[in-house]
Symmetry: C2
Subunit: 497 residues, 2 copies
């Protein structure tokens, strides 16, 4: 038997256990009563250790070496699978099991504390536990940077966006940082002239909001036989490719939050549901990385769902669902609502024009936290200062400031930049799809999404991790990831239309 085949069995087992852990993580955020937190943290930590130990034994190192001498006998997918195995092994093997377990325990605990701290808008509740997370992240980054030959930050970034380096991000973000401020002023000026919008008046029954969201999910080809929609503090997509668990959150007074949250997560979910079945439970069968993942959610939420074509299909359904009548429910008013640009405090509520500035702030701060240039105790101040610099506004409290996101309490330093890379990729892919698909506008206006989904499956989903992010982009759009399409999109939507 090929060493490669033995590795496939081993990585299959690793994937199966990871998927069990993914469901436990979903349950943690969606179902679990508070009293279960400590035990759940221990369950996830112990399972994490078992998973970690599966591929860190010396025999796995030998198998990888051997398999890499067998590549003449492997096809293209198998070779890519082996490459992904080696990459996973490098990441896992760099870090001691004790450190992995300590991080798992710390993040489970810290996520629970974060919920309370956020609710109470009290950073002091979180400070010690977050300090511990940053400390552990630094230890992990140090361990990985040695093995991977990367900087500390890039070693963490590589976990979420394999192959990506901060040097590449710096170029993209510098370009956006130059473009966005003056663009934003133009948009706000135009918006001030053309008049504001009125929020449709609630309350909006939550089950109606949910039904509406599920209706759009179904139209977008989400398969409810292989997934669920639930509620959590912070919307996310988890679970497994044949049991995708997405969540949103509901506001009685504003249906747009839950709806756009649902549409965003649906983009993630469709990527998972359409990954190559043949490579299920193998590294190459997984989603490429978080930039492409986020491109799928933003393509649905920002590019598709806020397009005039989609809105002309969706607004009548929304009005019908809530029995909306009158001035606040006209196409014109709702279109203004969905295209409204505003300097706000909350990243997940931000429009697509200001969103990158939120990300740039977090990117700067997390690099500083990791390097030690910024102490956790100084985070609230640095956050507020950064908000003032980038967006010209200062959060009145930490709930609207540095307590809004679960990422750092969850140990995900190096994740934030992928949001904006995803936004760039979404614009680039959508522009290409729009050109490539015949009668695109007509099909969207009539709520027919199969052509778009087929294009995404064909160009992105079906490849799993076969290609790199930039190979996917190059092959699908003729260019690696750039800012052009995103900037063109913003200019068209906010200055021209």
């Amino acid at each position: 038997m090929l060493a490669y085949s033995t590795l496939e069995k081993l990585f299959h087992r690793r994937s199966v256990l990871s998927e069990g852990a993914a469901i436990l993580h979903w349950d943690n955020a969606v179902m679990m009563p508070d009293g279960g937190a400590e035990s759940r943290a221990e369950q996830l930590a112990t399972l994490g250790t078992v998973i970690h130990e599966l591929i860190t034994g010396s025999e796995v190192s030998d198998l990888l070496d051997k398999a890499e001498e067998e590549t003449g006998e492997l096809d293209e997918w198998q070779k890519a699978n082996l490459r992904e195995m080696r990459n996973a092994w490098r990441h896992d093997n760099a870090v001691e099991a004790d450190l992995v377990e300590a991080m798992s325990r710390a993040t489970s605990k810290c996520e629970m504390t974060w919920r309370q701290a956020r609710e109470d808008s009290d950073f002091s509740l979180l400070q010690d536990e977050l300090t511990e997370i940053v400390k552990l992240s630094r230890q992990i980054a140090r361990a990985k940077s040695d093995v991977l030959g990367l900087s500390d930050y890039d070693a963490l970034l590589d976990q979420f966006e394999p192959g990506c380096r901060s040097a590449e991000i710096d170029i993209l973000f510098d370009d956006l940082g130059t473009f966005l401020p003056s663009f934003l002023e133009e948009v706000l000026e135009k918006q001030a002239k053309s008049g504001s919008f009125e929020h449709p008046e609630g309350p909006f029954d939550r089950s109606l909001q949910r039904d509406l969201g599920e209706g759009f999910m179904t139209a977008l080809t989400f398969d409810f036989n292989r997934g669920r929609l639930d509620t959590s503090h912070h919307p996310f997509t988890g679970g497994t490719p044949d049991d995708v668990r997405l969540t949103t959150r509901y506001e009685d007074g504003d249906f747009t939050q839950s709806l756009m949250g649902t549409l965003h997560e649906t983009g993630h979910a469709l990527y998972e549901q359409n990954l190559p079945v043949k490579w299920r439970n193998q590294p190459v069968g997984r989603s490429r990385g978080m930039a492409i993942h986020e491109s799928q959610s933003l393509l649905v939420e920002m590019q598709l769902s806020r397009s005039p074509e989609f809105l002309s299909y969706a607004l009548p359904l929304i009005r019908k669902a809530f029995k909306g009548e009158g001035a606040n429910w006209t196409d014109d008013n709702l279109m203004r609502l969905y295209h409204h640009v505003e300097k706000g405090f909350i990243r997940v509520d931000a429009d697509e024009a200001t969103y990158p500035l939120h990300v740039i702030l977090r990117y700067r701060l997390e690099k500083a936290l990791l390097s030690g240039d910024l102490a956790v105790s100084d985070l609230p101040g640095a956050w507020n200062k950064g908000m003032q610099e980038l967006l010209g506004i200062t959060p009145p409290n930490d709930k609207l400031g540095c307590l809004q996101d679960i990422h750092w309490p969850g140990g995900a330093i190096g994740y934030f930049p992928t949001y904006t890379m995803g936004a760039l990729a979404a614009a680039q892919l959508f522009a290409e799809a729009r050109q490539a698909i015949p009668d695109f506008a007509t099909s969207i206006r009539s709520g027919e999404f199969e052509p778009l989904m087929t294009w995404l499956r064909t160009n992105i989903h079906q490849f799993g991790s076969l290609k790199s992010t930039n190979e996917l982009m190059q092959d699908a759009t003729g260019s690696v990831l750039k800012t052009d399409a995103f900037k063109n999109h913003l200019k068209k939507r906010y200055l021209e239309d």
Copy 2:
């Protein structure tokens, strides 16, 4: 370090992983979309193998041998813990990992098939998969019987009710088999004379049913910070001691089903929530066995909740919840409803007087299935014949017959007798509590359950697996498990009151 201490660490890890699996099993029954079934089966099977392998290595055998020479240095709880470890080791070590994994996969699959077969009332859908379960059960029983020096059936029974042998069950069941038939005739005769009841007319809003159930759970001291109530095809209690997941099922036309289901599972849940925290995640900290577990659920559902004292507290609340008025809602009518005896098809809907006959049927059938005296293909016929013999009625279809229970599809042969042992224990414990607690009737009538719960915690819950079932009964009631209290209870409730 003592070998015993090393074992504690190992068994702790085993327990933590088992608790993760328990949540995945709950999710499987309550949340998971059908499309996730195959993957979930694989997750549970793989996790089962990991758990199995934890204590089946040769070093664990050595550690147990060593620890058993250290007992001079162990206290009472540690000694009992070591005894429980040895027992778990014997069970796990008797069976090859492959067989454990095969059984886990087969039961996950078969449980899903059972849902469909039950819905369609089509035994042919289930036959092949159930045959496989019986075959695997036989292999497991054979492997264990060799090691434990028990008969095949007793080897399986010992998994659910450690130390119990079918010889003991035969004596108890023979006694009930003698008592019940003539008793039943007397009851039915008396009931016919005193007049029947009318069902309160529905429909009953499911969320009101749920709220009512949760209200009773809270009154009975269930801690919602450490547990949840949900819905599933077949009510059960799962999860972990600090995250107890109980389920019930709702009928629009009959609130009594969901309510009594909830009260039953609450009895199980309270046992779990009150297990000794100090011994959490150790074998001795677990519940004693299924007979005692069932005694706790039946004590709440049958002994307490249908007592005149409880009903005088509960009926006004029930009327209020559903705005019940008129003849069908009088104390008298509802009391008759809750004390109604009837020869029915469904075990979980059976009253306490006919219930043991359902169990005796299953006990006979599962022994015959295991020995091979009964082929799975002959099960529907044998079931119907047994129902006719024991209860004098024949199910019109398999949904009301041999497809009603998940136990065999779930691989739980040897489980059923513990239901009736639990009923006997419940009666014996409740009779003792009633005598021991001052002003018992008054406290129940006023919805004050803390004295009863304190008595149960003190006499049962706090001991975990320190004592054997019969030691628990002896110390709590002055006698090992007998039929006397149960028979006295039935006579008093159904012939005297």
